[in-house]
């Protein structure tokens, strides 16, 4: 089984639109949205939820006012300044370390488990999909990413599918690290802007750090040809294969507004041809059947 994660470093380079388009082309796959923090793939896939569950992870402190003597030890020991002067724990600041719970001389602090979000297994017109919703301002996005990836893998095994196509998060931090560990390869979707190049380089380094093979494609390549060439040269230097160039085209936005992939919106577009070529390269590199 192969698992390919689409990442970008910089946000807004077209990851999700491209994953949606690939889902028209790929066969025998499970779709997975690992951008749990701002999940958007479902807006095109319109998944019908088959089953779902709460995502519980970590704990938060809660002070029992009746038992509290306001001795101040918890406030003194909390390194996250999460306890106010009137002894109320701010859930946004609480790290869930349990230090206050352990040291409270009156055992006046409870430590309930957090429900941080939900995850779903769904059916879509392109096959099964695993996705999630992290609660706003919640922590543990990395753990939720790990969970949706595990569920996608289970589903692929159950249904005898040989590919997991995953929409990854932007950045290089916790959720991205959780998204790419152990994957067959990552595809970095970048754009020819100084920030696109800068962020692509950092996420390519991250893939290298975890020894995950990385490939590159340049979206909106015609916005700045000189930078497109610089990005491709960088990729060659670092031994990353360049899968293709995709032109700037408002068809991406138009398709998104109709909740369609670019192929569904317009079967003949130039952008569609470029994506088809990119996908063929990717399938060859991954040796997909």
């Amino acid at each position: 089984m192969k698992e390919i994660i689409i990442i970008s470093g910089k946000g807004g380079t077209g990851k999700t639109s491209l994953v949606a388009a690939f889902s028209s082309l790929a066969e025998n796959k499970v779709l997975c949205d690992a951008d749990v923090d701002a999940a958007d793939l479902h807006l095109i896939m319109e998944p019908a939820v088959v089953r779902g569950a709460d995502f519980q992870s970590g704990n938060s402190a809660a002070i029992n006012k009746d038992a509290c003597t306001e001795c101040g030890l918890c406030r003194e020991m909390c390194r996250f300044d999460a306890i106010s002067a009137d002894y109320i724990v701010n859930p946004v600041d609480c790290e869930g370390c349990g230090v206050c719970v352990h040291f409270c001389p009156e055992t006046a602090i409870d430590f309930p488990v957090n429900t941080c979000g939900e995850w779903f297994v769904s059916d879509t017109r392109f096959g099964p999909m695993v996705h999630a919703r992290l609660g706003i301002a919640e922590e543990n996005s990395g753990k939720l990413v790990t969970l949706v990836r595990q569920e996608a893998r289970k589903l692929a095994e159950e249904k005898n599918l040989d590919l997991i196509l995953t929409d990854g998060p932007p950045g290089v931090g916790c959720p991205v690290i959780a998204s790419i560990g152990g994957a067959s390869a990552v595809l970095i979707v970048t754009e020819p802007t100084v920030s696109g190049k800068h962020d692509m380089e950092r996420v390519a380094q991250l893939a290298g750090h975890f020894k995950i093979p990385a490939m590159i494609c340049v979206n909106k390549f015609d916005l700045n040809l000189e930078l497109t060439r610089k990005i491709e040269n960088y990729a060659k230097e670092k031994g990353l294969s360049c899968l293709g160039r995709i032109p700037f085209d408002p068809v991406f936005t138009k398709a998104m507004i109709q909740a369609q992939t670019v192929f569904e919106y317009d079967g003949q577009s130039t952008v569609g041809e470029a994506i088809r070529g990119t996908w063929q390269q990717l399938a060859e590199n991954l040796e997909l059947g």
Binding site: A38, R79, G98, I136, A137, G171, S195, L223, P250
Partner: protein, 278 residues
Amino acid sequence: MIISVASGKGGTGKTTVATNLALSIGSQVQLLDCDVEQPNAHLFIQPVFDRTETVTTPVPEIDLGKCTLCGKCGEICEFKAIVVVAETVLAFDELCHSCGGCMAVCPEDAITEKGRELGVLQKGHRNGIEFIHGKLRVGEAMSPPLIKEVLSYRDPAKLTIVDAPPGTSCPVIEAMKPADFVLLVTEPTPFGLYDLKLAVGAAKILDIPCGLVINRSDMGDQKVKEYAANENLPILMEIPFDRRIAEAYSRGDMIVDVMPEWKAKFMELFEKIKSQLN
């Protein structure tokens, strides 16, 4: 005053708005780039950096000479970052949240703290703008402590503009938390709107007033405007799609440098934010 520029969705134009706003206002401004995973503002501001420092977070260091292998450190740790196995103690620095619990609980005083490198913080300036950003070490997962460190450089005598990371989880909350006003940059697309609603939710949880900038305002539909009207969210600026802006951005040029007429529009944005706060 602190203005945090956030978005939910990535690539909507946070950095464009934050940098052009800072440059338009010009004096008594500091720009703090808190998108420490992928800091980009320096590519546009091109500051002269005069200071770079390594930022660390405390993690346990165990003196095995004093340790009796009692296991209390492993019991208190919620993050499985320290554990007694066989005849030794193992610490997994990258899992440690720096709460200090193991050190406090150790009955033998066998635990002290050392620093684990999170990344670097750089300080510089351009045209009177004070510029600070953090850069997370590639391979490091934990960004909030580095964001906190960048924010600690806030100068209350100045206007502080914060370039926040995308999303709505802990790093964004960290970058929004101290703000007096959250400026949400969005685009009029289904992805833009969906993620905007999450970002508005985050501002509401923190109880901070917010307003919108709609970027590429003519490339999409009307649903962001309908949402803003229903939620009583002020639309403070619209930036239509203009290939000249896109190309300037691609090169790292500032809109206000390439198209100086935009300076007045960014000043107007600043005035509108101020009047929202009054």
